[in-house]
């Protein structure tokens, strides 16, 4: 009998594990990935999804099984078994989640590092040389890692000003001001962000990146688009009545098209 239940437990955990992996690879819930750190993000997402599915389905199955298996049959009056605890069992289910959580933590540290979260902040290369050291905060992707594969090109500096209820982009090179973000594919963009009034947030779901735009506190965000196309920019921090309408687009072009756009719009000769 104990042998049988051990076999049953083993097979059901195996089915559960395989099922979790199957679901995570067959249920796709993310939009297209269009930046260099998006595939890294998706990798973490998948691992979390696998673990989540296994835990959720396992726990739900246990609860439902218990409710059916141990339900009170008509006419039954007695008590259940007299079981107050089991030290080794309790140690087991303290240790296993602790290990899982530790694994997730270390793994997401690695992901975080690969996404540029641990890099020292890049300085503002936009031209003006400030004697004072400026306090700048960065989000994920604010480091120079992504430029390793695009070494031949320096990052493209763009300044973002957010206000109720618009994003305004300024290209120092060419002094272009635009309501939409135009960037070339495959080149690192260095976005320096400031808010004129309240807190806003810059979010491109396809880039898997978000960073608050904070009044009185510049923030920066680096990213490298990997797909041409048109992606939404969404404000993700409640900023007033028209918050829901505070949307724009990022247009990722081939380098030549981007250069043409730059040339056509710039106020100075480049």
């Amino acid at each position: 009998m104990p042998k049988l239940s051990a076999i049953l437990t083993l097979t059901s955990s195996l089915i559960l594990g395989i099922g979790g992996v199957w679901i995570a690879y067959n249920v796709d819930m993310l939009p297209v990935s269009a930046s260099m750190n998006a595939p890294v993000y998706d990798e973490l997402y998948r691992v979390l999804f696998i673990i989540g599915c296994i835990l959720f389905i396992g726990m739900t199955a246990l609860v439902i099984y218990s409710l059916f298996q141990f339900r009170r049959r008509p006419g039954e009056t007695g008590d259940g078994i007299d079981l107050e605890g089991n030290i080794s069992l309790e140690i087991f289910w303290t240790a296993v989640p602790a290990i899982i959580v530790l694994f997730i933590g270390l793994y997401s540290y690695d992901i975080y590092d690969r996404m540029g979260g641990m890099q020292p902040l890049m300085h503002d290369h936009s031209g003006q040389i400030n004697n004072q050291v400026e306090r700048v905060w960065g989000g994920i992707g604010s480091g120079p890692i992504e430029s390793t594969s695009t070494k031949n090109l320096s990052s493209l500096p763009i300044e973002l000003t957010a206000m109720q209820f618009a994003f305004i982009f300024h290209y120092p090179k060419g002094d272009i001001i635009s309501g939409e973000l135009h960037v070339p594919v495959g080149r690192e963009v260095n976005l320096k962000m400031e808010s004129k009034d309240v807190i806003h947030a810059f979010w491109v779901p396809q880039f898997r990146l978000k960073q608050d735009v904070i009044p009185g506190q510049p923030t920066i965000l680096n990213f490298t688009p990997t797909k041409t196309g048109n992606f939404p920019i969404v404000c993700a921090e409640l900023c007033g009545p028209y918050h829901g309408g505070m949307r724009s687009n990022v247009i990722v072009d081939e380098q030549e098209d981007f250069d043409t756009w730059l040339k056509e719009n710039s106020k100075e000769q480049i």
Partner: protein
């Protein structure tokens, strides 16, 4: 103030008035105060729920066409504030805490009965004030988080009333917290050890520690914010040199623990309900106690996970990631212990049991998405999106509200002496469970795919999923009808419950239903084994009951 264990020295004001009028009076009886909290909280729940309905109606179409955009933000703010500060916190703490804790420690009342009544009577006026602000000059519209500078730049009247009302409600919960700590530690019946208390006492002790440590921080923060609004100081106002991030740190130092203030008591209540209806001892009492204290300690040091996109330094993000994820360990222990409590039991599938098991399933999902959100790289994509809305409703609705319903089904016979109709109760559970999951599960997808939260208008590609979610919300709204009908019907014509319809061992069941003013006619019973169910003990059980 001490309360004698001997009957007969009730303070005179405690005895009057009688009948249902006592619920509208400044009663000092902890049972009356508990029910006052419960009914008052439910009243605000209906209001907060109607506001949620209005939000869901607005979101059935991508345009902002059902109400003006400012009004949407006011409704959103009121909904969040009411649900947290006027429904869940007062009910899981104030209502059940007041009703049950004195029974559990073997006392005839709370340690400070007058403070207790004051704590309750702060709630109705501040709640009404909050709601009337909507009609005066427009309610606050910067969300329940009231982040500056938005909260400084939106119309001041509503925001100031919001601050005042939250301050009063915070005061109320501090008074309650002090009272619970004093009652549990000081009014225990001689001979009753801490480790013999029912688990809900431990949960309330932990919660009250959180309340007393963190609520004053919120109060101080909101006072500074009100200075910024009315006196134009610059604590948080960047145009006057203030720092908006400091507000976020202070705010979340309270508001993250607030999540545990809403779920820890719920954990305690579930720990009372499961053993009785599965006729088994609570599994792993000692680890349950330690896991509560673990949650309290960790709960105080994880607040900055709400600020991963605000621009915190990398080391801080890492620390808060690890600390947050580790809360899953003590929380997981509790869930495994509950399942082990069910294992091998003789389970009655009544409404109380169903709601508690529904809670376990919902909360596991909310907890899993919580661990995911704790990971900085994951959070930067979904922060401030519908993924988060889904996550926290799985915690607060799937967690706390399910437990509140479970508790009402469980303790209603004690409150009133009447039984609720079980079939109606099961029906209520099924509709609520389906409606809840239909409403909130699809919102995970919305968030992952690009729908931010707190928006009245959205990208048309999200319309279908939003409509599904709204249908779920409609089901949830409808599910209150069988519940209300059941309550009404049972109060008027319900079967007599008798003293102990569940054949339970915890002390509140060892007196009449409803209990007399001083809880027990004679000497209070000394219950050393509140969970002494189980085959071997059944003879002893029967003896104890007599």
């Amino acid at each position: 103030m001490t309360i004698s264990l001997k009957p007969g020295n009730t303070p005179p004001e405690k005895l009057q008035p009688t009948g249902w009028l006592k619920y509208l009076s400044f009663s000092l009886d902890h049972k009356v105060i508990g029910l006052q909290y419960l009914v008052c909280g439910f009243f605000f729940y209906l209001i907060g729920g109607s506001l949620a309905g209005a939000i869901r109606v607005e979101l059935t179409s991508p345009l902002s066409d059902f109400m003006p955009r400012e009004v949407y933000n006011q409704v959103l703010t009121l909904h969040g504030t009411i649900m947290i500060f006027l429904w869940i916190v007062p009910v899981v703490n104030g209502a059940f805490g007041n009703y049950l804790i004195p029974f559990y420690v073997g006392a005839r009342d709370m340690a400070f009965p007058r403070l207790n009544a004051v704590a309750f009577w702060l709630i109705p006026p501040s709640g009404l004030m909050l709601i009337t602000s909507y009609f005066i000059n427009g309610a606050a519209q910067s969300g329940w988080t009231a982040y500056p500078p938005l909260s400084i730049t939106t119309p001041a009247a509503g925001q100031i009333i919001w601050i005042l009302s939250v301050l009063l409600l915070g005061g109320s919960s501090i008074f309650g917290g002090i009272n619970f700590i004093a009652t549990i530690l000081k009014l225990r019946r001689p001979g009753l050890k801490l480790m013999q208390l029912p688990m809900y006492c431990w949960a309330m002790l932990g919660t009250s520690i959180l309340v007393v440590l963190s609520t004053p921080v919120l109060a101080g923060t909101l006072i500074l914010l009100s200075f910024d609004i009315v006196a134009h100081t610059g604590f948080f106002n960047p145009s006057l040199g203030g720092n908006v991030i400091v507000y976020q740190h202070l705010f979340w130092f309270y508001s993250h623990p607030a999540v545990y203030i809403m779920v820890l008591p719920a954990f305690g209540l579930v720990s009372e309900i499961l053993p009785i209806h599965s006729r088994k001892p609570l599994f792993g009492y000692t680890t349950m106690v330690f896991s509560i204290m673990g949650i309290v300690v960790l709960g105080l040091v994880v607040w900055a996970h709400h600020m991963f996109t605000s621009g915190t330094p990398p080391w801080m993000r890492l620390f808060f990631t690890i600390a947050t994820a580790f809360i899953a360990v003590p929380t997981g222990i509790k869930f495994f212990n509950w399942v082990a409590t069910l294992w091998g039991g003789k389970i009655s599938l009544n409404a109380a049991m169903l709601f508690s098991c529904g809670f376990i399933i919902n909360f596991v999902l909310g907890g899993i998405t919580g661990v995911a959100l704790a990971q900085v790289p994951f959070d930067v994509h979904v922060h401030d999106t519908y993924f988060v809305v889904a996550h926290f409703h799985y915690i607060v609705y799937g967690g706390s509200v399910f437990v509140i319903f479970s508790s009402i089904y469980h303790w209603f016979p004690k409150f009133t002496g009447k039984m609720l109709n079980e079939n109606l109760g099961r029906f209520h559970f099924i509709i609520t469970f389906i409606g809840f999951n239909l409403c909130f599960a699809p919102q995970h997808w919305l968030g992952l795919n690009g729908m931010p939260r707190r928006v009245a208008e959205y990208d048309p590609q999200f319309q279908l999923i939003n409509q599904i979610s709204s249908v779920g919300a409609l089901l949830m709204a409808l599910s209150t009808l069988p519940f209300l009908w059941n309550i009404l019907q049972s109060i008027l014509y319900g079967d007599e419950a008798g003293d102990n319809p569940w054949n339970a061992l915890t002390p509140e069941w060892l007196t009449s239903s409803p209990p007399p003013v001083e809880n027990w006619e004679g000497e209070a019973p000394l219950v050393l084994e509140p969970y002494g169910y189980g085959e071997k003990d059944s003879t002893k059980t029967q003896e104890q009951l007599k």
